[in-house]
Point group: C2
Chain length 503, copies 2
Amino acid sequence: MSKMKTAITPTREEDYPEWYQQVVKSADLAEHSPVRGCMVIKPWGYGIWENIQRVLNDKIKKTGHKNAYFPLFVPLSFLEKEAQHVEGFAKECAVVTHHRLEKKDGKLVPAEDSKLEEPLVVRPTSEMIIGEMFSKWIESYRDLPLLINQWANIVRWEMRTRLFLRTTEFLWQEGHTAHQTEAEAEAEVFKMLNVYKDFMEKYLAIPVILGKKTEDEKFPGAVDTYCFEAMMQDKKAIQGGTSHYLGQNFSKSSDIKFSDEDGKIKYVYTTSWGVTTRLIGAIVMVHSDDDGLILPPKIAPTQIVILPVIHKEETRKEIFSICEKLKDDLENIKYHGLNMVVDIDTKDIRGGEKKWSWIKKGVPIIVEIGLKDIQNDSVFFLRRDNFEKKSLKTNEFLTNIVPILDDMQTKLFEKAKKQLEDNTKNIDNLDDFVKFFTPKNDKEIHGGFALSHYCLNDKEMEKVKKDLSVTVRCLPLNQDTKEGECIFCKKKTKHKAIFAKAY
Amino acid sequence: MSKMKTAITPTREEDYPEWYQQVVKSADLAEHSPVRGCMVIKPWGYGIWENIQRVLNDKIKKTGHKNAYFPLFVPLSFLEKEAQHVEGFAKECAVVTHHRLEKKDGKLVPAEDSKLEEPLVVRPTSEMIIGEMFSKWIESYRDLPLLINQWANIVRWEMRTRLFLRTTEFLWQEGHTAHQTEAEAEAEVFKMLNVYKDFMEKYLAIPVILGKKTEDEKFPGAVDTYCFEAMMQDKKAIQGGTSHYLGQNFSKSSDIKFSDEDGKIKYVYTTSWGVTTRLIGAIVMVHSDDDGLILPPKIAPTQIVILPVIHKEETRKEIFSICEKLKDDLENIKYHGLNMVVDIDTKDIRGGEKKWSWIKKGVPIIVEIGLKDIQNDSVFFLRRDNFEKKSLKTNEFLTNIVPILDDMQTKLFEKAKKQLEDNTKNIDNLDDFVKFFTPKNDKEIHGGFALSHYCLNDKEMEKVKKDLSVTVRCLPLNQDTKEGECIFCKKKTKHKAIFAKAY
């Protein structure tokens, strides 16, 4: 498609971070609220989250978990129970200290006599409050495994925020499970990691690398943290979500014990795992182009929008009724187990402006219906990912729409996979490593993901971390374990790690 | 069904409030958390909420509303903008004053240097924060109506709490809409009130009275508040939800203006409406009996539970496989647009205990499958609402299950309707009114709902309110407007009100 300028300014090449903000804005996904660090998720963005919820919720239930809801607040004394956990989470959080307001000199202030004896923290994560309940619910091995999930809002005070990627309040899903044995708990950790991978690749069309975090990067209080990392178009990494093996650390601090089949009292083994609204940021950054958002059809709030094209007022009624008929026909087509979602945009604005608003919103297919199309019994449509325009007989369009959407879903995944593969390099000496991550120009463009031998001693990479803003993302799972020299200290090691700049 | 004692102690007659707590507990719906006033909603209770969400969300979307998400926190200055609103909501709420914790003398305390310049309130409702966003989003009449809904958690500090009925944190849905004209906004208020009524009656099997609140009882800041009231088995009222006509009160305080078709700048007319997890308390109190919870099948998390009855170990495999087959067959039956939900309970506990646990949980149909049933190709089942036990040929059971569930749904509604009608009395003098509401014994049993002429001056009923704990619930809609004397002051009035004791 040839045109003078792109719909988004700046382009990805000109200024990637600003391009991201502009795509989010022009797709009407979310915006900053007047509450510092908190965002408003607008209907089009929330529609994506609802689809993420629907699909993932189904997978979480099919693997035997049940949803429940736990309090928003965590008493300070609970946080203090797990030493590492408190270090990690007590730092930046919203603290509730009073439970009433009163007028003083004409202004509302927290009432002195309503001061709480023990302040409450707005949950930065729910291990401690859920652990407390688990300790009451679990008595015997018969109560295990206990497999619980919660959809909730979370608050972690952030100084520098970016819509979806880092906000003070965000939405997430947090699984919390308790098991009889270490082996069973570990199996759970990998089961959910693979549920996430399947979801990321099949629905969000984002290929991921599964891996283990190093000691420095793991969840405070966990024995091991596993994660999945994705590559954005600027070759930076995003951690898409995590699955933690908590061993008995939390069962000991929350006193979650059970009487086992052998009659002995033991501590359970626990796990936790979650993904957040951050995934919406990843969708934007992996798939979109300089004309705005591109959405994988399986996660788009609306697969198809129909725009009536009315040149003469007297044709309006006929064109509208044909649009309604087409919508009905499309919505009767099954698309991956659900009905297709179709909108007709009857807003009273110029046709070009209207079409571009949907291009920027990333709706997969834009249909335009005018008098000529009706006379030809045909449908004229634009495919968002490759801007292909086509006219098909109505019947043909109805027969082909699912294959077209599936092709789009596949192509988006393949493109993202190629991006990941083309920009992940085996690097085995520090000079190449530094060169790989040194920006070629002022746009911060660099090599991508480096896969290098690593001794796991995070002190060795502190200088690199500082100078190049590169962090160790994870130790990929299922790697071949040929021995090599640590890229930093030359010590022999069997481990290889993914290094990258990250959001 | 004859048995020595009831599964729930005390019975409804012995102590209704305590019976309620015990039904909630033995059905495993929810429990108090260690966080004062906050509850934990357990999987069976949350499953009811998920069904409420699913059905209501669908109705809310079908009436043109879109979901979005707004911040958990409201800055104090926002609350202050609407004078009446602040009076109503600034009183008991959670106030965030700091954003970091630090160790001091070995204990975690809010860090002094993290004190917020402006404290934040955890949302007790979202008019002010959503109004602020609406004022940015609305420019022209083309942006109207703006129809938004949010599913969220809410905090209102409560001193005396009861699971579901009154808790410091609860879950709800809040609709917020902005309109071009008064007439359109008022139509929205009634549209949603009727959506609620339809939902209450068809899904929760709870008949409701639609009405208008008096000045004293309306939402702080509203022009008019409409509500729906239901009668519990102890003849007390519960307000199931509300729909507010806010006029221009909030658009003026939040500065929500638009340029109208005539080119003039005007304030929009707004509405808000919501229902909460309190509805689960109403389900419990309307339908349950002295053996525990009874759930309307259309809202039950599981319609049918299958209990394998194993007398000899060697029959286990065969019985389990027949149970699986029955579950599959049942789950292929459509039940009001969805697949039937069926559980098999394979827990390793005694059969009687297991069966009673499901009776107390209120699952509509309990099936027991033993060797004899397999030999006869029959299904033995218990219907929870009337304890009817029956054995049907498997085919017959599969053919009849939907009609059986529908009959149960209808019967529950009819029973609740009779309860409401039998205990709603026209009362036209104060003596009868006082007698009606005076407990007959120490169990607080009284007459029910009184429908009486009322002058609308709430001062007139203050003594009654105090002496009898009776409040005016609402002025029922669509009442005949024959004139009569106010039950309190004898002034002539056309209004009749529903008076009741209430939760």
